[in-house]
Symmetry: D2
Subunit: 369 residues, 4 copies
């Protein structure tokens, strides 16, 4: 018979993704955020609180490590059956995880887990060998990994963590992982020159991009406790939107009237001052990451949507290394997306994510030895 467990009554579970682990219900803030249990029951349900005003969350499940389901979640408090009629007594690992990035444009959007219903016991969950943090933009939010190549709407269903280089990499290396990413954002500014849309400003919160009453009440804006989860490696995949900003019109912040624009010279090269502004953001972000993660190997990866900022990024990294003597940092190009590997919305498709993951896995395998 099914018995209902609040999240706090479950003896063993593993949480993926940054969250406030003290919360009940448990918020899943980021794509790739999830909860994994190992149960002997024949049947398992998950109890959820879901909301959104426009951008509905999508989730997916993995049974014993294999993709099983993927669906839209509409607002409400309800339960979803994760499996049924399995052999009672045999342990099964079920992972329920968020496909959708933290949705900074929808304050109501959230996925909270109240608990589970099961007719068996909860067993300890297998631990991972490594810990990796991924910091990125739409690429790391998996935008375009679902959907037809011709699809161009900007909608939540096209994003995923299930078909995502970050997940592929973590799986191949047997790593627990956490994703901090936001489509359209950069390290200095967003694709449209909106300087508020930089990841570093939000990096030190649990989920600085989780706005709105419900997310705040669930701890999104609390300081992230870096010591609680020390990554072996941090993969930063930022710069793609910063590059775009050089080709976009100026952006005016409505509240202040301030206008921002990254410029190119008439010859098509980046204007020196604006390039420096970007490089300083890279430099400062490296410092921020290191301050909070003294032992992690930091690799800045770049190229899945063009190589334009390879040299500026490395320039900042070189200056950072010189100033700090911190050589536990590296740069790596990931292969660009081509007509053969593109997905929906002009973003990397599954094949591009697989190819990028291969290069990154090979790189990290040597580092993590």
């Amino acid at each position: 018979m099914l018995k209902t467990y609040s999240i706090k009554e479950i003896p063993y579970y593993h949480i993926y993704g940054r969250t406030d682990e003290m919360q009940n219900p448990l918020p899943l803030f980021w794509n790739g955020s999830g909860i994994e249990v190992n149960v002997t029951g024949s049947e398992l349900w998950i109890d959820l609180d879901i909301d959104c005003s426009f951008h509905e969350p999508w989730i997916a499940t993995e049974l014993n490590g294999a993709f099983m389901s993927r669906q839209m979640l509409l607002p409400g408090s309800y339960s979803i059956c994760l499996f049924r009629n399995m052999t009672l007594g045999v342990p099964k690992t079920m992972k329920f995880f968020r496909e959708l990035q933290a949705m900074s444009e929808d304050n109501d959007c959230h996925v909270f887990v109240r608990g589970f219903q099961c007719d068996g016991e909860f067993l300890p969950v297998k631990e991972h060998k490594y810990k990796i943090e991924f910091v990125g933009d739409s690429i790391t939010s998996g935008e375009g990994t679902y959907g037809a190549i011709s699809d161009t709407d900007w909608l939540t269903m096209y994003m995923s963590s299930s078909e995502n280089y970050a997940t592929f990499t973590a799986k191949a290396l047997d790593a627990d992982y956490r994703i901090i990413s936001q489509g359209g954002w950069g390290v200095y500014c967003g694709w449209d020159n909106d300087v508020r849309h930089n990841i570093p400003s939000y990096y030190e919160k649990i989920c600085g991009l989780g706005f709105g009453k419900a997310n705040e009440a669930a701890g999104a804006q609390k300081d992230y406790h870096f010591a609680s989860w020390k990554p072996d490696a941090i993969v930063v995949n930022l710069g793609t939107n910063d590059a775009s900003a050089f080709n976009q019109p100026p952006f005016t912040i409505p509240e202040t009237g301030e206008t921002f624009k990254q410029h190119k010279n008439p010859d098509g090269n980046f204007m020196e001052k604006d390039r420096e502004r970007f490089e300083n953001a890279v430099y400062d972000f490296l410092k921020m990451i290191r301050k909070n993660n003294p032992e992690a190997h930091i690799v800045w990866v770049y190229g899945m949507l063009g190589y334009d900022l390879t040299l500026p990024i490395t320039n900042a990294m070189n200056r950072y290394q010189k100033d700090t003597g911190d050589h536990n940092t590296a740069f790596l190009n990931l292969p660009n997306t081509t007509a053969d590997t593109v997905g929906a919305h002009m973003h990397p498709g599954v094949k591009s994510h697989e190819r990028a993951a291969r290069a990154l896995i090979e790189y990290l395998q040597e580092i993590l030895l």
Copy 2:
């Protein structure tokens, strides 16, 4: 604003899979059965009647030809949102389809479509270039295409039409397609010598494997109207369970006490009489298929789970050709499943289905020219 349409009120739609198209609600009997619409709305819901006693149905959706969602459906009358917030006015193709085979072991199991809710218009649905019918067993039911390699429960979630050589083939050739398949069944008998579990006995009904009151009321046991949908090619993928029967203990039909067993000689070869029984079933099934499909190219494919019956199948086909002069029939080995390509439950995995599809696509491309 969403407007509700019963299935009969929709001006344009395409039905995949054998069904009684006059029914309202519309039954989706087989795996691969589905309904496709082309709408201008920003939002689309499907209204369903679902039931089962044990084996819950699973369904999946494709938006503009790309896989989007896959989920379990529990009993009840309810609606599912297929998409929302898309650009109003732009045509979108949405296909909702059944992952689970016709479930002969669960009389209550059914997926009925009552209609749709949409805020836009229904446009004509793109037609396919060819029509292909697939007749098979668990391989064609996609068993093992989802799930971990270690998973061995016999459950509905492991079956699919979304990752299935039949679907891959139909897509590559731009073909409308219909699947008639049942896990464990054969052309003469099932994997366990149960002679009732032969596909030919049910081939001439709309869905002879759809038992129970609800399925019958929905037309499952009606004669299938072959003239209504004339396939260019029929792919028969049967024999795998007939081969297994030679290695299994005898089967006794409880109702009659009759016992059946396909025997091997002490040297490991098929006993002549039993082999003939199998060959006669192949022979008779070819006659039945041809009677109902005078113009279709019939190709018997075999090998995805072992090549044991290659020669008996071809022997029956040769006799059939000699007796009838019907040379619009052919045999083709599909590549066996290996450790590299196996899926859950010791069945072909996605890689095996992809490889088989490649051989079949190449074959049919020449035939359908």
Copy 3:
């Protein structure tokens, strides 16, 4: 210092391919025929007697199992340096092998090995785990595995054993192997209805296709001593030219005036009597192979250039099995060649050979266990 060894003075070597091993010099009659030595010397030369009137032989070398060189050999008695300046004392395996099929159309064509020159010792050569015999036509002669897709001359340089499904299969299974093949030939007749061009008539000689004084003197026309090399498996890849004959004009043997032609009926199917003629040839060849190889598994593979004769071949095999009770025989389709995998002269390219080899390797792995 280099020392010259006649073939008879070498303590250890391995011969690939059927030959008269007592001969000195040693004839390499077939494609894939070769000699392998394991030497400690820093330098190794091979001493050759080569001739041809039109079709010059091509050979290739493998050092420690890796392809190293490939070249044309023109008539003469001369030596070729196989390697030089390697580390003295370290064992190296060098295989020198014939790329060109036995050349039935050039009586002078031959590759005879007189011996080696080396500055080190000859060590025992590693033995293989299995033995496999391959019997075939131009496919097994590797025609088209070298050359541009547009090349259509019928020339020796386009044939190979280095890029050949037979070699790929033997290597993957660690098998010693022997090839008996001839481009344009069949099991009943050649591509052009020349009934003299059937492999079975020559199967029982060492190299029945090696005509001319030199080849005969080297033992080509001697009876092959089947007991001296007992294959675990025999792969027959014949039928492709027999299929072609049905589409070609009649052939008249100039010496006798007899005319031969395999016919199709007006409906495009094989005329019964002609089909039987072919089937009888398959049947008789199976008997001949079995008589000479009582324990070998015989697999007839077919399909790399079309599936036309799948059913006639299997019909003969079924009749053979029924009449003889010999079930250690099997049929297997190999994947057809497509625009993606074609090579020169409309023949299977390297990709087609690789794909065929994969299917055959997987098949034989289970048989040879």
Copy 4:
């Protein structure tokens, strides 16, 4: 009937690789250097002058764009038959090219083409769409693309231009190409800290690495006439040996007694002064390349044997860009070689070259548009 043509009597041919085109015979100095003709003859021979003291040259041929032969050339003046018995009158493209790098350690080593013998006419040779120059070390010399993984001798047979990312790239882009490369050399110093082994010192000669009387007489040490062949792109693949030098003992130049060593700090990082020395060499080489090739796109590629110097290379490139304003320069990581893709002598194998080529082709395709 064969007619002999000295190189100067041939009306049309295409030369690959830097050389002194006025020479007769024509020297082929570099790997990838070759001569291509388009002839109507049925037979074609090439007349050669070959020499070496230790490191014998290897060459290969391509007929109509397809690899046909590969062989060792021993010292002497002789002719090689490139093809025979082809259809007279039909144009054939034959490319004869050098597999072996310019051999700085063997002053006698050379491949000189005296001319051809042919029974047909010479037609104009098809022109390429682009021109690309490749500058590199053992990777670009194709070391390890032939040979078994276990082979570790440093010998000429293991090097190639036939299986080489530079050739793959040039072919895919329809580019004429020239290779300047030397195994073990770097941009500042060789793998063993020998500072004489830097490519820039020799870059401005036709073949600065071609020492000895014969090579000098053939023009090797002449200034290269950059204006005669203006590349669209220059690919520099240097740094791998410079990285190695940091891990090797000091090197003393015997003639002068001067000792050189690139150092690491105790923490494993590059010592600042030594790193700067390397960076200055990159910086200066970029200036030298640009001076000689005002319009070429210069891309520095790096990573096929480790990513250690990614940041120092980019640091020099950034400084170069800042100082010169030359933004027609870029950096690109190529994928590292792994256990799956390694070749002989711990060098990139064919699979690694294919993978690197894919990334480079995709990159250049966008640049060359």
